[in-house]
Subunit: 116 residues, 4 copies
């Protein structure tokens, strides 16, 4: 298994091309697919307490479902970013740069109001 | 800027620790934060046609918003996976292995019913 | 079948009480359940064109799924509003009053930028 | 203020017609708008404990935001149901009939696994 984001991006493009599915992969459709998968992931956690959610991976059945849902979310997010020509990692760092400026540690420490 | 997923994961952990925010980063809360950011991303595309969505990055203002929202989604997805000790890239490949088996190219080519 | 929102609200409260499920119906959990159901509803539409989405109810199988998902969304929205003591219809009208002020017909007619 | 669902539905249709926005109100677009608003609602609860979420309406500022977000969700859900010619209340009761059969009180009492 290849743990590299570029390789995953390439595999997703080939997967769509092999099935002539690129025609369905408009950004609008991919955003909806991403939202649908995040909905399924959310459902896995909806009735859990905070403590139960923290140990969910110790339950084999639930853990497998969570890993699969997170895989689906990553698939659509990676594919969406590729179609939009956005660098996922760079986009995250840019937002973090911004958050680091807006939330200096000394001012927000321990406050949920500003937690990001 | 570092384009490596491990470095992003480490930066997110340090960011939370510096602000004493790890206490808020239960899987349940992070899933909600992820869902909230995906909702904002969805809103950017809600009134666009498929064609408009395909050229959204040529609009500087919209393009910047989309890049920022995707950055936020990536931040929470990466942080959630770290807290759950899930390898994001491996989880995506495992799901793709499964989809490759379930959707052989010859059987599903060009069909939206099975598009993944 | 009773078509009254108050009756639905009462039925949902009795349904939860009969199963001792009110303990799980915190606003936080109900919001997650609502988000999960909206995710499933979104998935029904993700690969459809705008035109296909407009005629989805003429497909018996898809139509039944959409009706069921919308039923689920309404269930959790109604239950959430009840638990928070919010009047759903009044809350919608209040937001519409605000939108009517912000988007006068003469200024926004036919513009997707402001479509609400 | 009119507390009747039919009146809200009619007001939403007139609101869209007055602005020539019905053209944007395809089911696909409205589902995305609904998902976007549910995302905003989810964000209001993401860092709260279960206990904090239960008293959120006692905080005037947060309470106003939650009421406004729930109003937005209700607006898009009502409009979507109207465009699809689905009776919201009837759809909810039909799903509840089904849940009542699948989850008899004696079998599921107090179990989060089946909580609906």
């Amino acid at each position: 298994m290849d743990h590299d984001l570029a390789a995953l991006t390439a595999r997703l493009a080939a997967f769509a091309d092999d099935r002539d599915w690129a025609q369905f992969h408009t950004p609008k459709n991919l955003v909806m697919a991403l939202a649908g998968e995040v909905g399924e992931l959310t459902a896995e956690f909806q009735w859990l307490t905070a403590a139960q959610s923290a140990t969910i991976m110790t339950d084999d059945e639930r853990g497998d479902r969570v890993r699969a849902e997170i895989g689906d979310v990553m698939i659509y997010l990676t594919r969406l970013a590729a179609v939009l020509n956005i660098d996922l990692i760079a986009a995250a760092h840019t937002k973090l740069d911004d958050s680091a400026r807006r939330y200096p540690p000394d001012r927000v420490r321990g406050s949920a109001d500003k937690a990001r």
